[in-house]
């Protein structure tokens, strides 16, 4: 009997085109839009050599050393500038107006910088000129106090570039913050699965829907029918989430880290969380389907917003200032679990997220059971 109900519920659920759209197609479409909108942003954050120009001041003794330094930092793969040599101010001004360069230096007794606007590239240009000036100041000072230093290679030492910093990895993966959008999208899809859960409860309580009235007439134990239906819903939801994960990973190249097994486990727990949440809301709210749907959408949307789906830094702000809210937001728990799997070396935070999710599932299931059990209808 269990198999019979399960198979028919499966057929019945999968024909609900509207639900399939919202729980499956919509996240895929939204993911595609995310990808199209964000694929170029990382590139924007990266450092590109700055387009700069140099206008000689006319005094060879001042122009030559600065020009030499500029040339040195404008060659090679790790160069700081794409240097253009201007014949005069007028030409450099024109380049600046046309946006061909970010700024230009005029060398001479003192180096000056001309820019069009304030920005990171312009700040780097200014810092570079500062550096040149302070190095000259230091050389002059040392040479005046210790004239022998010039013979000891002071000038070659100043140009001697050392690596004072070494890079250490922050975590097991690159801090690609755009991933959070996709993680919260998967979390949203899991929570949208609550519609399946709600449908199950609606179709088992005889005072809510006609189909439930029919089911209650049948000689099947209510819990058995409910469980069979729920498993059918869960199967569909998990299959949808797996397809979504496959599309994001293989289609759009979203990185989930190297712990594939745990990622699939998280998706599974997330599906149960979504399903049980829907069932719980379906059981606890008695009046009106509109209100139930509104509640599910509001919780999912507000949860997604707080987990950083619309505004990335929201997740961080909440975790910093209202940590409790981060731990009771089911969308955030899921997003955070994916994030922890991708980014952290240890599984500590992931386990914690998973445990809290399981806590929620137990709470929702117990609540639903207490609401739905032993409800008999004297008259239909």
């Amino acid at each position: 009997m269990f198999r019979h109900v399960f198979i028919y519920r499966l057929k019945c659920l999968i024909r609900d085109r509207e639900l399939v759209f919202w729980t499956f197609l919509f996240p895929i479409i939204l993911g595609t839009f995310f990808y199209m909108a964000f694929m170029n942003i990382g590139n924007n954050e990266a450092f590109h050599p700055i387009d700069a120009a140099l206008v000689p001041g006319g005094e060879e003794s001042f122009d030559a050393p600065f020009q030499a330094v500029m040339k040195e930092v404008s060659t090679g793969k790790d160069r700081l500038f794409n240097l253009k040599q201007a014949t005069g101010r007028a030409e450099a001004d024109q380049w600046l107006r046309q946006g061909k360069i970010d700024g230009y230096y005029t060398s001479g007794r003192t180096i000056e910088l001309t820019v069009k606007e304030t920005g990171m590239n312009q700040s780097i240009m200014k810092s570079f000129a500062d550096q040149y000036r302070s190095a000259s100041a230091a050389v002059t000072r040392i040479a005046s106090e210790n004239p022998v230093a010039m013979k000891d290679g002071l000038l070659s030492d100043i140009g001697d570039q050392h690596h004072f910093v070494k890079e250490t990895a922050g975590g097991s993966a690159e801090p690609d913050n755009l991933l959070n959008y996709f993680y919260s999208l998967i979390a949203m899809a899991c929570l949208y699965g609550s519609f399946w859960g709600m449908k199950e409860v609606t179709d088992i309580q005889a005072d809510i829907s006609d189909r439930a009235a029919r089911v209650n007439m049948a000689p099947v134990h209510k819990l058995k029918a409910f469980l069979a239906g729920s498993f059918a819903g869960l199967l569909i939801l998990y299959a949808e989430i797996l397809l979504l994960l496959a599309y994001l990973h293989y289609g759009l190249g979203i990185d989930f880290g190297h712990r594939t097994g745990y990622v699939l486990l998280t998706a599974f727990v997330g599906s149960i969380l979504g399903q049980s949440f829907g069932a719980f809301i379906g059981a606890i709210v008695k009046t009106g389907e509109g209100l139930k749907i509104a509640l599910l959408i509001v919780v999912t949307m507000v949860g997604s917003f707080l987990a950083g789906m619309m505004y990335l830094n929201m997740k961080y702000l909440i975790a910093e200032h209202v940590p409790l809210l981060a731990w009771i937001n089911p969308v955030n728990l899921l997003t955070d679990a994916f994030y922890a799997l991708y980014y952290y070396d240890s599984l500590h935070r992931f386990t914690l997220n998973l445990l809290v999710m399981c806590g929620f599932i137990i709470l929702f299931c117990a609540g639903t059971y207490l609401m739905v059990r032993r409800r008999k209808y004297a008259s239909l």
């Binding site: 820019v115 810092s127 302070s134 190095a135 961080y316 994030y339």
Partner: protein, 387 residues
């Protein structure tokens, strides 16, 4: 005017779902206007990179270094715990984590090879920026240590402070800039396209859907009202709804951004929004004649409003988008609406020549409008003939 009145009743029935969009839109707009300040900056301002600075030794040299770094970095204090630091880097609360190991200053003075540890967003501009400062400071330390070895750490720090004092003179080439350039109004009007599309599609197509039901249509056919009269009433109801939506949404802009109201740019912003409203009304008309049930409208409305907003520069500015994406986006009216907005925001003179790019974009939106309406009419005619 029975048809007009019925339309009004139907609009009112949907007011909850429509106003939800308006409330969300306003909340986001207010949040944006509250967190952003659009002050016209004059003169040069050194950018500051956000860094987490962890000094494990605190010597006069590292302290001097911290002070020098402070000119171009904003120090964010984060507890020295791996996960907290990782989180801050991931969410760009900092873009550079710097750790000076114990014994570093002494090692530098002895021309040793110890290194400062950094964890960064790979290849970022902030990374190059801070590295430049690190190199500058410690290179000078090495220089002094080699050629003036008698200096104490304290004296050396003081000497470096003197060397590093003073600023390179920066001239900012003045250019006339429009008041609305990069202003709240520009972002508001861009974002308006999302809300306006959602409100109009949900409102208008829901009404048309009712009229397109076969039974209702048959009932209308046998009513003593002329077809032209019926259409006129329906169109005027739709027009009223569109105008009210536009006025309400634009009205809030006046409340939130007082500075831009007086500019002539605002007139063109509103003109552009009006053209866009006409276009989306046409699109809603088309959707209303194609779709039969309300839940499908909700799905179509979501996809048709979110999609163009993502790829046309409403949520993510056009300059950050990939060329291929923008090419695809140019097949949507939203792209041209955003283009016109960006052009209008930058206008400082209003000659025909400077207005032309914005106006051509608006003409393209009008062509979309004509296409949508023509398509809707053809489909409507076909349905009428079939029923």
């Amino acid at each position: 005017m029975p048809v007009f009145k019925l339309c009004m009743k139907l609009f009112l029935r949907n007011w909850l779902s429509v106003s939800l969009y308006i409330v969300i839109f306003l909340a986001i707009s207010i949040a944006i206007s509250a967190t952003s300040t659009y002050e016209g900056r004059t003169g040069f301002r050194q950018e500051k990179a956000k860094i987490a600075f962890i000094d494990e030794e605190k010597t006069p040299l590292t302290e001097g270094f911290r002070q020098e770094l402070g000119k171009s970095a904003e120090f964010i204090s984060i507890p020295d715990q791996t996960e907290k630091l990782q989180d801050a880097l991931f969410f760009r609360n900092v873009t550079y984590i710097m750790r000076i190991p114990r014994g570093y200053s002494e090692n530098m003075l002895d021309s040793g090879s110890m290194q400062i540890e950094k964890t960064v967003v790979p290849n970022s501009a902030e990374n190059a920026y801070i590295d430049l400062h690190v190199r500058q400071y410690w290179n000078l330390v090495r220089l002094y240590a080699k050629h003036d070895p008698d200096l104490t750490q304290q004296q050396l720090a003081e000497r470096l402070k003197q060397n590093l004092a003073g600023d390179t003179r920066v001239t900012v080439q003045k250019q006339k800039q429009a008041k609305t350039s990069e202003s709240f109004s520009m972002y508001y009007f861009n974002f308006l396209s999302y809300t306006l599309s959602a409100v109009l599609i949900l409102g208008i197509s829901a009404v048309l859907m009712v009229f397109n039901k076969l039974d209702v249509r048959r009932r209308i056919f046998c009513s003593p009202i002329r077809h032209l009269q019926f259409n006129l009433q329906m169109f005027s109801a739709i027009l009223l709804f569109a105008v009210v939506s536009l006025v309400v949404l634009v009205g809030f802009c006046f409340l939130l951004d007082g500075k831009s109201i007086g500019t002539p740019n605002m007139v063109y912003f509103i003109l552009n929004a009006t053209v866009f409203t006409a276009c989306i009304s046409g699109l809603s008309f088309l959707i209303g004649s194609l779709i039969k049930n309300f839940s499908a409208i909700s799905a179509v409305a979501n996809v048709l409003t979110l999609g163009p907003s993502f790829i046309s520069g409403v949520f993510v500015p056009q300059e950050f988008l990939n060329d291929t994406v923008l090419k695809i986006a140019s097949f949507t009216p939203t792209y041209w609406y955003v283009q016109a907005n960006a052009n209008i925001a930058r206008l400082t003179d209003f000659s025909w020549e400077s207005l032309q790019p914005a106006l051509s974009a608006m003409v393209i939106v009008l062509i979309f409008t004509a296409a949508f309406i023509a398509l809707a009419l053809v489909i409507g005619k076909r349905k009428r003939l079939m029923s």
